[in-house]
Structure formats: C-alpha cells, structure tokens
C-alpha cells in the first residue's frame, strides 16, 4: 500500500468516525488501525490477541487459517481487539471499499465492547497483560524446559473454558474483605490477589511445613464451577509456577468469555452499523456495487448452518422496526409509544447477551423468515429436521448456548473418600458427553490434581461415574 492510499484511508477513518458518533450516536473507544500483511493477520486471528504466549494449538490454528487463505478458501478482512484504545488490524490487500466497510464494522464492535455490560469487567489493557503473560511463560520455558511447560499447558487448556463468568464478583468481595490488611501482607506472586488471606498464608506455610498442611481436612467452598480456579488453588501437587500459569490462563479466559457470550449480538450490531454508515457515505458508483456485494456476502443465510452475522443483523433490524411501529396490541399491552426503535436497540446492546437476546427478541415471524429449524441424527445416519415450532427452535438455540456450549461441570468434593480425591459432577441437561474426549480430559485433570479423579455423568439414561487413577480408566 502506497502512502497516498494510507492518507486516503486516514481520511475515510475520520469520515466514518464522524458518521458513527455524531450521526448515529455510537460511542467507541479510540482506535488504532494497523495495516498488516496476511501472515500477521492470520497470526492475530489465530491467537485472538497479538503477542500472546506460545503453544502448538495456536500454531495449528494459524497453519489452518493461513492455508485456507493461501488456497483462496476464506479470508479475514479484519481483527479487532477489545482494549482501550482498541486495535484493529486491516489486511493490506483489502480494496479501498473493503477497508471502508471493515472500518465501519470495527467501530460497531468497539462500541459494543465499550458499552455492553458483559464486557464492563474485561481488562481493557489486555494486550499489555497478554504480552506480560507471554514473557513469563517464556521465562518458565527457559527455566523448566519447553516440553515441560507445553505439556502442562496441554492439561490446563483442556479445561480452560470451565471458569466462572462472574468471577469478578468474588474478586471484589475478597478485595473488600481484606482491604486494609493488604499492606501488611507479603506479596508472594502477582496473582495473590485472587486468593484470600488464609490461602495466601497457607501457601506460604505449605512451603515451610511441607505436607503437614495436607493432613488437615481441607476447607473447600463447594460446589465449584470454576475448575481452573479450584485446581489452581487446591491441587496438592502443583508448583508455584504452575499455579501462576493457571492464573494467567484463567485471566485470559475471563477476558474472552464475554466475546463467547455475545457472538451473535456483536456481529449483528457491527453489521447493522457498517451497512448504515456505508449508506451515508459518498461512495463512487463502482464502490457502491462492490459494497453491496460484500455486504450480501457477510449478511446472508448459510444453508444448513446459522450465520451469526445474519441472525444478529435481522434481530436488531426487527427490534428497531417493532419499537418504531408497535402493533396496536403492543401499544396497549406494553405501553409502547412508537418511534423508540433506536433507543431500544441501544438499550439491548447495553444489557443483553446472546441467550437473553434470542429469548427476548427472536419472534415467530423471524423464525419463519429465517427458516430456522432443529435437526438431529436419526438412525445414526441421517441428519434430519425434527422441529419447526418456533418456540422449540428458540429454546434449543438458547440451550445450545448455555455455558458457552460447554457441558456444565462442577467440583463437588475435593476430599472424596477421605483420600484427597477429586469428585466432579456433570450437571446433565439431556445431552451426553463425548466419552472418548471425556476420558482423555480426565487424564489431564488427573495430571493437575495428582490423585484419583472422578466424573459423574449420565449415559443411556443411567448415572455413570468415570474414574481415572493415573493408569487406568474405570466406569460404573
């Protein structure tokens, strides 16, 4: 890209910012746009944050994305980072029209990051934090060996999604409890503020007295949904550096969870605003055409799948319509005055997440228009449409998103059988676990806990307890 093009892009950014904020009332963080080559684009895309720590799984994702790009199968136009100021990466091969649309889209995302309540507790300096994590992880690799760190990461990553999305509440409570005592405490590690005072002193004393502490009946707060936190805090075998690694991954996952909770809304919101902003811009005819094509490519149904861009876009549009022109029933029953479409959209973008968004605003008409359906495997062979009733479809959608699509698993006992064994329960909600994967993951949990691990779940409508003792699997 030559300097003239960069200057034009700067002009476009200013114009788009002006339209987004002054005309449409968006309220994004300031943004740094960075034009990057494909290799960097796919790197940021596969790591989800620039400068993050190293692990082969990122390399695998990178390789796959890069290959898709090289073969012309898929292309990422932008990656945007939730931080203040925000970072947005633009692919250097984007055409001017693509860039304009992408910039408008990005402003929609950043407005969402800044104003949606689920993001309010995210660390807005996560890029710096992730870089610090990467540095520490690198130090551990240097000190303990790359293989050792990698294998430990394999284990932690297997349960990384099992964290408490509302963890900030505990952090706040603990901070309040121990406020004032803090200054007197010796700081042991950067994540001690995640631990309560007793735990901190416990940690310190365990170093001195060795195993003595283990003999005491442990005092866990149970049940505990946050597996990463529970193991980090209570595992009898982990070294301090390993707990630190877990704390880092925990923090990064807490940062990503709101993005997992608002995928449909976030993409819908960004798509609504890129289309409106582009309509306000003074585009030459050929760019108009190109934009129309691009937009149609992004916001269109994918047969057999759900395109979050399209679904979110349609729902936001529908909200605006219904609050602008309420039916007589809605006027009477809910006291909607009409003409409140814009306000309502902004309220939704502030207060909802995907689950409440769908539950509250996916209507029968929309379900029909989008031709949504539930499908399942019949006779082990055919994926068959099994339900078209809109309420069932809506409920299935929200069920599938519960706990970001992961099974809900809790620790219910950290001293099972009086033997410091770990007992977890899968809160069964109708869908069985992938047993092969569950066994392998149990092996990882065992690695983190160091003693026998158990997972209670249901298979074929009967309760089943899976055991792993470090050598053998057993199920009963």
């Amino acid at each position: 890209m030559v300097d003239r093009e960069v200057q034009e892009l700067e002009k476009a950014v200013e114009e788009i910012w002006e339209i987004a904020t002054a005309r449409f009332g968006l309220d994004p963080f300031p943004v740094r746009f960075e034009i990057v080559p494909a290799t960097v684009m796919y790197e940021v895309g596969s790591y989800a944050l620039p400068g993050r720590y190293s692990h082969w799984t990122f390399g695998k994702a990178y390789h796959r994305m890069k290959m898709m790009y090289d073969f012309g199968l898929s292309k990422i136009y932008e990656v945007v980072i939730n931080s203040n100021p925000s970072y947005a990466f633009l692919l250097e091969t984007n055409s001017p029209t693509q860039n304009k649309m992408v910039i408008a889209h990005v402003l929609g995302h950043i407005d969402f990051f800044k104003n949606n309540v689920y993001f309010s507790k995210t660390n807005r300096r996560m890029v710096d934090e992730a870089a610090l994590h990467a540095r520490r992880m690198g130090d551990y690799e240097f000190k303990y060996g790359r293989k050792v760190v990698e294998e430990f990461l394999d284990a932690v990553l297997s349960i990384e999604e099992h964290v408490d999305p509302n963890f900030f509440i505990r952090k706040r409570n603990q901070a309040a409890e121990h406020d004032g005592e803090r200054k007197a405490d010796r700081r042991e590690g950067p994540y001690d503020d995640l631990l309560s005072k007793e735990e901190r002193t416990e940690n310190a004393s365990s170093k001195e007295t060795g195993d003595d502490q283990r003999k005491r009946k442990p005092n866990f707060e149970l049940p505990e949904k946050d597996l990463v936190y529970f193991l980090m805090k209570n595992s009898p075998i982990l070294e301090p550096w390993q707990r630190d690694v877990m704390a880092m991954l925990h923090e990064e996952m807490e940062y990503f969870i709101p993005q997992m909770q608002t995928k449909i809304m976030n993409e819908g919101w960004a798509s609504i605003w890129h289309s409106r902003i582009m309509r306000e811009m003074d585009l030459p005819t050929n760019e108009h055409l190109e934009f129309a094509e691009l937009h149609a490519g992004v916001v269109s149904p994918h047969k057999g799948q759900l395109n979050p861009y399209y679904l979110g876009y349609k729902i936001f549009e529908d909200i605006e319509k219904r609050w602008n022109n309420p039916s007589s029933e809605e006027r009477e029953k809910f006291g909607r005055a009409g003409g409140e479409g814009r306000d309502k959209m902004f309220e939704v973008r502030e207060l909802d997440n995907d689950i409440s968004f769908l539950r509250n605003y996916l209507t029968e008409d929309l379900c029909d228009e989008l031709d949504l359906y539930v499908y399942q495997l019949v006779d082990e062979e055919d994926w068959t449409v099994s339900e078209k009733n809109w309420e069932k479809v809506r409920d299935q959608l929200t069920v599938n998103m519960t706990n970001f699509g992961f099974p809900y698993i809790e620790v219910v006992d950290g001293d099972y059988d009086g033997n410091s064994e770990l007992y977890m329960v899968h809160r069964f909600e109708g869908v069985e676990l992938d047993m092969k994967y569950a066994r392998k993951t149990l092996e990882y949990v065992h690695k983190l806990w160091g003693r026998d691990v158990h997972l209670e779940t249901r298979v074929d409508e009967e309760s089943l307890v899976m055991h792993y003792d470090g050598h053998e699997h057993d199920e009963e």
Binding site: V6, P30, V36, I264, Q305, V385, G405, V431, T441
Partner: protein, 386 residues
Amino acid sequence: MSVQRNDWSLQRKGQIDQDRHKDRVREAIKKNLGSIVSNESIILSDGKRVVKVPIRSLDEYKFRFDYRKKKHVGSGDGNTKVGDVIGREGQPGQGPGQGQGAGDQPGQEYYEAEVDIDEIAKLIFEDLHLPYLEEKAKHAVPSKTTKFTEIRRSGVLANLDKRRSLVENIKRQARETGEAHIGPFKKEDLRYKTWEEQTTYESNAVVIAMMDVSGSMGEFKKYIARSFYFWMVRFLKTKYDNVQIVFISHHTEAKEVTEEQFFTQGESGGTVVSSAYRLALEIIGSRFPSRDWNIYPFHFSDGDNYYSDNDEAVKLADDLISTCNLFGYGEIGEEGASSYRRSSGALLSIFKDRLRSQNRFVGVRIDDKEDVYPALKEFFGKRDEV
C-alpha cells in the same frame, strides 16, 4: 484515531508455533508408525510427495457434548419441513457445520496431518539397516565422475575462478601501489579451477518380488504385500544407486509380470512355491550375476503350499539363499487372525525347521496391517553378520 503501517517482516510467531505443531505431528507420527506404514493414502500415493494421513493423539481434548446425540439449529432456504434430511453422517461438508463455540463442533475422529512421504520414510528407515551389504560392494561396477578440487594458474577460461582472481588482483595492486584496490587485470592474477577424475563404485541391487496369487490370496493379502514392497523398494533406493525389481507371480506355475499385473491381477488355482523359486534362479542366472548384484528375493504367500512340493521348495530356497544377500519370506494370514491360529503345516514353520542357512533367511508372519512395520524391522533390523 490513527492508521499505521509498521514493518512486520521479522514477525515469526505464528510460524514458530506452527513449527511446534509440526514437531507434535512428527512425534505423533513416530508413535503411530505401525498404522501409518500401511496407510492407503501412502501406499497408493502414486508418486505424490505429500499425503494426508490420520494421526491420533493430536486432538485438543476437552469436556464436550457428543455432537451426534445433540440437537442442532440450522437455517434453510424457506421451505424446510420436518422430516427433511439435510445431511448424512460421515460426509464432509454436510451435517452440523460451524456452531457458536468450540464445544459445538462436530467431532473429527482423527486429526488429518499432511505429511511428506520422504519424512515418514526417514523415520521408518532410522532403525533399518541393510544386511550383508559390504561383501557385495567390492564387486560393484566402477564408474567415473569428475569433481573440481584444485586451483591453478593456468587453465581454460571457462573455468576461471572469479573471486580468487579478484583477490589476487587486489593483492598485487596493494603490493605495487601500496593501496588495495582493483586495477587492470594481468595474466598472473588469473586463477583457474581444475578437476580430477574420481572413480566411484555404483552399487546395484535387484529385488525379486514374488507373490502367491493362488485363489486364497485375497485383496487384503495383496495389499499387505504391496505395502511391504513399497517401503522395501524405497529403503533399498536409499542404499543403492540402482535398484531393479523383478516381479514374479505364481500359483502352480510362475511367470514374470509387470508391476501393475503383480499387484492387481487376481488368479486362482493351487500353490506350487518351487515354481517361483525356480524362475527366480533362472532370472538371477541369466540377468543378475551375483558378482555384480546385491540380490534380495522376497516372497509373500499364505503358506498353503501343495504338500508334495515342500521338499523341492526347501531345496530351491536353499539354492536361492546361496546366491543372494537375504531371502525374505512373509506369510500373510487372514485379516485380524491371531497368531495362534496359524497352521503348523504352513511353509513358514517348514522353512524355519529345514532351511540350511538360517542366518540369511528371515521369515515373518503378518496378520494385520499393523504388522507390516514390525515385519520391515525384522527383515532389515540389526543382526549379527557372519
């Protein structure tokens, strides 16, 4: 608000972690060599250099739902009705597509890795070793090659060594003018490369691939033989400059065939092993004198030889062994049959009992695709050479 364009040319993070992933793939391949050695996509690769093989143990395991038992939501083109079939299980690109989160994606049983056949070969051959090579090497055919080895002051202009001539020029200028620079060239500056003739010994090897194509040799048995020959030929090619293969298929009679016929032709009839050995001896006698050739006869059969032929087979096998480096015999059982079911009257046990020169004979039993790799190791493993 700003637009930036930085120099990212030194950014290699993705590349570095991609290499870490590659390391993992390589490790996994090493662990799974047994199944990879006989993988169809390699054996039937037809000269392709990179193939896809399924690799176990590279999945990122998590607690996740069984996607086959889960209900999914999709969107159609407007006319979807209950009961419509939208995809078949096991077909790529159909059925449940990308979901919202990682836990929603369909389970791929295996991670498919792209691997370079040469790289796999390197791993497989790491432990392999060519038996009885040395004593044949001295009979190898000499051939001449040339190699530039020396620098001289005279020679052909085409062989001018420009760099050295420049250096000489600068040195002379420095001597004459007290300043090191490039000046006009004189004849004494010029340096020429010259060559020497070297004699190398080309080593030749011939593989006599023999296979039983009697009625009892089914697809599976042929495939096993094929996988084995695939790697054996590749292995020998790393050791010898010139590897020739002669294909002999036999039932009650033996004949020399093309490679394609060898692996695809189905025939029927009984089994007379000695016919193949006799033909092999004839071919060796007329075309591959053991003075010049390293000879590797290998024979695959299901061991069900015609009873009265056994004596003759043993005698001819002994003759074969006396002319060759190593005689290999692979007995292929039914797919999945376990070893205790092998029949005692089969050729393998007869060979093991009655052959005179056991140290040049390797006999293995293969019941499963996974046995091919151990068999290779057995044939080309380290042994005490006498």
